[in-house]
């Protein structure tokens, strides 16, 4: 009980650059991120992975739509989410994760779980900011949270957080297969340095993800109006595909973030 299955990066050409970056004498977060994304580029940009990320993002879009309506139950039910009364923030967060898992069960487990984590992480962050207390939230507080998701500013933050988190977790997922092996033998003098790198990957990706935030609020307002308050999966996917591409491009261009 309590087991964990761990693997090292295979010595394929695509991963060698990641290993080389980690074994180097200095730590360059931008280069490590670039090498990691390059190593999994084919899988990450495959239609299937984009679909997973787009569907997770679709949940945020639906929450935003729900936040703009008086009655939000129907909107959530479209995602198969039926909140019991009394409800709780934990239940809502678990349900939205389950929505993504159910749709992609049996597919590439890594990207699906990363997308679920990014989505749940984003939603929990907003709950923590919006609600008086996560631990003592009432059913009314859930309504308060959903209402806040309808605001353009909250949606911008959520979008940035989700895509940043999805990409950062992908990078860390790749890196952490090897990171422990280089501690003490490279620029990572001890375990703290390794933890610091993972923290920096997160911060770095979130910094760069401002490029996604910049156009997401406008997109929500415009599309919501065009679609009569019912933004569909297709529109969300277009946005998500574009956002992911833009973020990847921005990360590829960035140099020297240390």
């Amino acid at each position: 009980m309590g087991h964990s299955t761990l693997k090292n990066l295979p010595r394929y050409p695509s991963y060698l650059e990641v290993i080389a970056q980690l074994e180097g004498d200095s730590v360059d977060v931008a280069q490590i991120a670039k090498a990691s994304l390059q190593a999994v580029k084919r899988q990450m940009t495959s239609e299937h992975t984009v679909d997973i990320a787009a569907d997770a993002f679709y949940v945020l879009v639906k929450l935003a739509c729900a936040g703009r309506k008086k009655e939000y139950d129907n909107v959530l039910e479209e995602l198969g989410i039926k909140l019991d009364k009394p409800s709780s923030p934990f239940l809502l967060t678990a349900e939205i994760g389950e929505y993504v898992r159910k749709r992609y069960r049996g597919s590439s487990a890594s990207f699906r779980e990363i997308a679920v984590e990014a989505l749940q992480n984003t939603v929990t962050n907003i709950m923590v900011e919006t609600l008086p207390s996560l631990f003592e939230a009432s059913t009314n507080d859930i309504a308060l949270f959903i209402k806040s998701m309808g605001k353009e500013r909250t949606f911008e933050q959520a979008t940035r957080s989700f895509f940043a988190s999805f990409v950062a977790k992908t990078i860390s997922f790749v890196v952490d297969h090897e990171l422990g092996n280089v501690v003490g033998l490279s620029a990572f003098g001890d375990n703290n340095d390794a933890a610091y790198l993972l923290h920096n990957i997160d911060t770095y990706t979130h910094d760069i993800a401002i490029v996604v935030e910049e156009f997401s609020g406008g997109w929500l307002g415009k599309t919501y109006q065009q679609m009569d308050g019912n933004i569909g999966r297709e529109e969300s996917k277009k946005f998500a595909t574009y956002a992911l591409k833009k973020l990847r491009k921005a990360l590829e261009k960035t140099e020297g973030w240390k």
């Binding site: 009980m1 709780s88 934990f90 923590v128 003490g184």
Partner: protein
């Protein structure tokens, strides 16, 4: 996703399944001649157990799944993106004719598939066929030769947690029946040694039921992760419970291991095992409720305890010397009797930190570990990553906890999946308890790391520590932490409840399984029957069977007077809750002054029970006898109680107030004080 078909015991593939495409098709059988599953439970056989066809079906299904799980690879070392991690299994399983309709029910199949899916990450389709006949060559052969006494099944692995759970049950006056899965004889002998020591702590004979279930012959094992083993293990306990009509199965795993949160970024989904993961246990409970004709409770009493706290509690029971007979290692194949722990698997790491944190190294010395992670070289890969992951996790928990407990839910969102399986009204409390559990565990870990730096200071200064040992790869956190002496903090409701079960009983009674704590509910009947019923169901469901609200009307008939029945119910209880509205209610026959509710209050007071009284604020129209009783008895400055005024018309508030008061009473009245 790859799809695999498993035809069990000569089953034929039904037409609707034959149309699907499979990557491979396998035959599984435990019958001699074609056997590729070794399925035996000698003690079960000898002791005439598993006569129930339903119990036999359950174990066979679990065994087929377990063997199938190890038959098909999850993609191997190089599939780091987990493309082939999840598999789809289709099983055609013959079940006993008597239970065919049960297994084939849509809800049962769905529950079974969901439960396994949660545990393993794989997906499943079950197709049941009629006609599995309990034959003479069956390994679970009934014989009717022996009798067994016991009231609760305990999954007994031979580790610290299951040892402690067993001792606690013995301490509570229960007679546990120990159930073990022993795929190898070496494990059996380790458990046997512990059991013979454990017998010195029991007044009764302790029965152990060890089942040997593993694969045999071809096809050879291609997968060693064994995520489905938790299902098999739990099914052994439940099969025993079904057969003996026990109402409780206890499986003990300390809270942090049971949550098994990702310590490394590469650990996503079921790369972390979930054998005692709360959502899995909930799903399994649901499945058992659907197939069993009597309710079986499944409980992990250590859900809110760390490993170190479990060990300290062992000491409190005077059983710390048994530590040396326990084995927690996941690699027992590679260890020896002198060094039964490899030292580098996740279980050994957690145990080593735990025993140092609990100050019990004397009984669990470093020499019992093949590798000392603090001072010996760790190999590249899993060894080094598990060790660094353990301490990195502790640091990260403390950093996040320092911001707020809530931020742990952002960092590890799977905590939401866990908390959401509890009753909604309890989720906030459970969430808080889990955050403090993680914080305590992390402080223990960092405290131990600090101690080890101090202990090996000279060797570190002289560069005598290998460069890939944990002390060389870590830095001194400088945290001095002394865990609470024996018990966890009082937020640990489960622990508090168990404690109450123990301290409140002057004379331990024979009960079947975990006795819920009894709370007597007193009120008039007229106009309040519906409220009593809702209060009872709400309180009982909120605490998942830990409490039973005793109401006169819901107890079975007895050949005793109503007064004696009431007296007995109150005396058996550990708490008294009363609701007083406007009516005084019927008087005790022959006594014009004393109402039945006033008599109940008096008995509770005389029995020394904690009394929680709720009075409606409505004085207008209140029966003068009741008002006088409230003024003179309940409000009496010296002997009364501090009652609470609650609007009875607002049922939700009333129920919430009662729950709060019960919890507060538990914490202040009984819960252990911590340093």
């Amino acid at each position: 996703m790859k799809r695999f078909l498993f035809l069990c015991e000569d089953s034929e593939c039904p037409a609707e399944l034959a149309r699907a495409q499979y990557n491979h098709q396998y035959h599984l059988s435990h019958k001699s001649g074609k056997r590729n599953i070794y399925l035996t439970a000698e003690p079960f056989k000898r002791l005439a157990l598993l006569q129930s066809p339903l119990a036999q079906d359950l174990i066979r299904i679990a065994a087929y799944v377990y063997v199938a799980d190890t038959t098909v690879s999850r993609g191997g070392e190089k599939d780091i993106l987990l493309k082939n991690w999840e598999r789809h299994f289709t099983f055609v399983v013959p079940v006993s004719s008597a239970n065919y309709n049960t297994w084939n029910g849509k809800n049962v199949r769905k529950s079974l598939e969901n439960t396994l899916s949660l545990l393993t990450g794989d997906t499943y389709t079950f197709h049941f066929v009629k006609g599995y006949v309990t034959q003479n060559d069956l390994l679970f052969k009934p014989s009717d030769q022996h009798e067994i006494y016991g009231d609760v099944a305990v999954l007994f692995s031979g580790g610290v947690d299951s040892l402690y759970a067993t001792l606690r049950l013995l301490e509570d006056g229960k007679r546990p029946l120990l159930v073990s899965h022993t795929p190898r004889s070496s494990l059996q002998s380790l458990q046997g040694r512990l059991l013979s020591e454990l017998k010195g702590y029991s007044h009764h004979h302790l029965n152990q039921f060890g089942a040997r279930i593993h694969r045999k012959g071809k096809p050879a094992a291609k997968e060693h992760t064994q995520r489905s083993r938790g299902f098999l293990y739990l099914s052994l306990g439940c099969a025993l419970a079904l057969d003996l009509r026990l109402d409780s199965v206890v499986l003990a795993d300390n809270g942090v291991v049971s949550l098994n949160l990702a310590k490394l970024e590469e650990s996503v989904g079921t790369k972390n095992s979930r054998a005692t993961w709360p959502p899995f246990l909930q799903a399994y409970k649901k499945l058992i409720a659907q197939i069993a004709d009597v309710p079986i409770d499944i409980a992990n009493p250590l859900q809110f305890m760390t490993r170190a706290e479990t060990m300290s509690s062992l000491q409190k029971l005077g059983a710390e010397r048994l530590l040396e007979y326990t084995v927690s290692c996941a690699h027992t194949r590679e260890t020896t009797g002198r060094q039964p722990h490899c030292g580098i698997c996740s279980q050994c790491i957690d145990r080593r930190f735990g025993s140092i944190a609990a100050g019990l190294e004397e009984y669990d010395p470093a020499e019992r570990y093949r590798k000392n992670i603090f001072t010996e070289s760790l190999d590249e890969g899993t060894e080094i990553k598990l060790a660094l992951g353990h301490t990195r996790f502790a640091r990260e928990v403390i950093q996040n906890y320092g911001k707020s407990g809530e931020s742990l839910f952002s960092r590890w969102p799977e905590l939401n999946d866990i908390v959401s399986t509890y009753n909604p009204t309890d989720q906030g409390h459970v969430a808080k308890s889990l955050t403090t559990l993680l914080a305590r565990h992390s402080l223990e870990t960092l405290g131990v790391l600090t101690k080890e730096f101090q202990r090996h200071r000279t060797a570190i200064e002289n560069w005598e520590i290998p460069s890939t040992s944990l002390l060389a790869l870590e830095n001194n956190p400088g945290i001095v932490y002394e865990p609470p002496p024996a018990r966890p903090l009082k937020e640990s409701v489960a622990f508090a409840l168990n404690l109450i079960t123990r301290v409140s009983r002057a004379e331990p009674k024979r009960v079947r399984g975990y006795a819920p704590m009894l709370i007597f509910l007193s009120s008039v009947f007229q106009g309040m029957m519906a409220l009593r019923s809702r209060l009872k169901s709400s309180i009982e469901s909120s605490f998942e069977g830990e409490f039973k609200l005793l109401t006169y009307e819901s107890e079975p008939a007895e050949s005793t007077t109503p007064e004696n029945a009431i007296r007995k119910m109150i005396e058996d209880s550990t708490m008294y809750v009363a609701l007083f509205d406007v009516r005084s209610g019927s008087n005790v026959p022959g006594d014009k002054e004393l109402s039945i509710t006033a008599l109940e209050y008096r008995i509770a007071r005389e029995s020394g029970l904690p009394r929680l009284v709720f009075v409606s604020p409505e004085r207008k129209g209140r029966d003068p006898t009741l008002q006088s009783f409230l003024d003179n008895q309940v409000r009496d400055f010296g002997t009364g109680v501090k009652y609470s005024e609650v609007d009875f018309a607002d049922e939700r508030s009333l129920i919430r107030e009662v729950r709060r008061a019960i919890l507060r009473e538990l914490k202040t009245g009984y819960a252990p004080q911590t340093s």
